[in-house]
């Protein structure tokens, strides 16, 4: 069962999630963002699927939005590759009805080599 905001603690690391960046998904992504076709997966497609994969781990209410984002890209990912993502809670902040959450995501390829690292701060809607 996905963890809700109140149950999260800074430093909490989630189990690794594995996902495959198949050709159909990459083509749909490229079409939706107007990206240049290359021989590899656009790094923000890798990141987007990583963030979506957190949905099975963390329960975020409808209306949650992005406040800030950092990325560090380390390696190209070929179309069809399987990668793993590990998420860690870095920070929680509540101010009145506003709740913010900062998550780190570390993505590695099948050989365990770093693909990219991300830090997302999101704002959850007031209760």
């Amino acid at each position: 069962m996905p963890a809700d905001y109140d149950s999260l603690t800074p430093g909490q690391a989630f189990p690794r999630v594995e996902y495959t960046l198949d050709a159909a998904t990459v083509e749909l992504y490229v079409e939706s963002v107007g990206a240049t076709l290359t021989g590899h997966v656009p790094p923000l497609a890798v990141a987007a699927r990583a963030i979506a994969s957190l949905g099975g781990l963390i329960s975020l209410p409808p209306g949650t939005i992005h406040a800030s984002q950092d990325f560090e890209f380390n390696r190209l990912v070929p179309v069809g590759a399987t990668v793993t993502c590990q998420a860690t809670v870095l920070r929680k902040l509540s101010r009145g009805p506003m709740r913010m959450l900062t998550l780190e995501t570390i993505i590695e390829d099948e050989a365990g080599q770093p693909v990219q690292k991300g830090r997302s701060t999101i704002v959850l809607p007031g209760a």
């Binding site: 749909l28 963002v33 107007g34 923000l44 497609a45 987007a48 984002q69 380390n74």
Partner: protein
């Protein structure tokens, strides 16, 4: 890569219209079905009063400008640090732009730092921040 890196020079702009159909396609491609992006009835009840593009979709436009400027080096060595300032809504025309702040040689590479932003047709900044990329010094 067609862009010549010089301190103070502008990156080639990237312009994209935000349309709900692209937001829907992006939701399917990314797996992010948050109703604030795709459910107009739900979104109308929120403080935002309507659907907005995924933040990551806007970042994808920004990344597209950078890959056009710096080629594959962007996808394999790029770094981004960004803040979301305003939502991007269906009907908006977004212009992604950037400027080289510094280009410093370090051995066989040049470390390039750029100020980047994305603004709508009213000039409101949607996203702003910094991008860094390592390029071969021979370029």
């Amino acid at each position: 890569m067609e862009y010549a890196v010089r301190e103070g020079s502008a990156l080639p702009e990237f312009v994209r219209d935000v349309v709900q159909a692209d937001i829907q396609r992006y939701a399917e491609a990314s797996g992010d079905f948050n109703p604030i992006h795709i459910d107009e009835t739900f979104a109308a009840t929120t403080p935002l009063k309507g659907t907005i593009a995924h933040g990551m979709l806007v970042l994808a436009y920004l990344s597209e400008m950078l890959v056009r400027a710096f080629g594959e080096a962007w996808d394999s060595t790029g770094q981004l640090s960004l803040r979301f300032r305003n939502p991007a809504r269906p009907g908006d025309r977004l212009t992604v732009s950037g400027r080289v702040e510094s280009a410093k040689r370090d051995g066989g590479i040049v470390c390039v730092t750029c100020a980047v932003s994305c603004a709508n047709q009213a000039g409101e900044v949607v996203v702003s921040g910094e991008a860094r990329v390592a390029l071969p010094a021979s370029l």
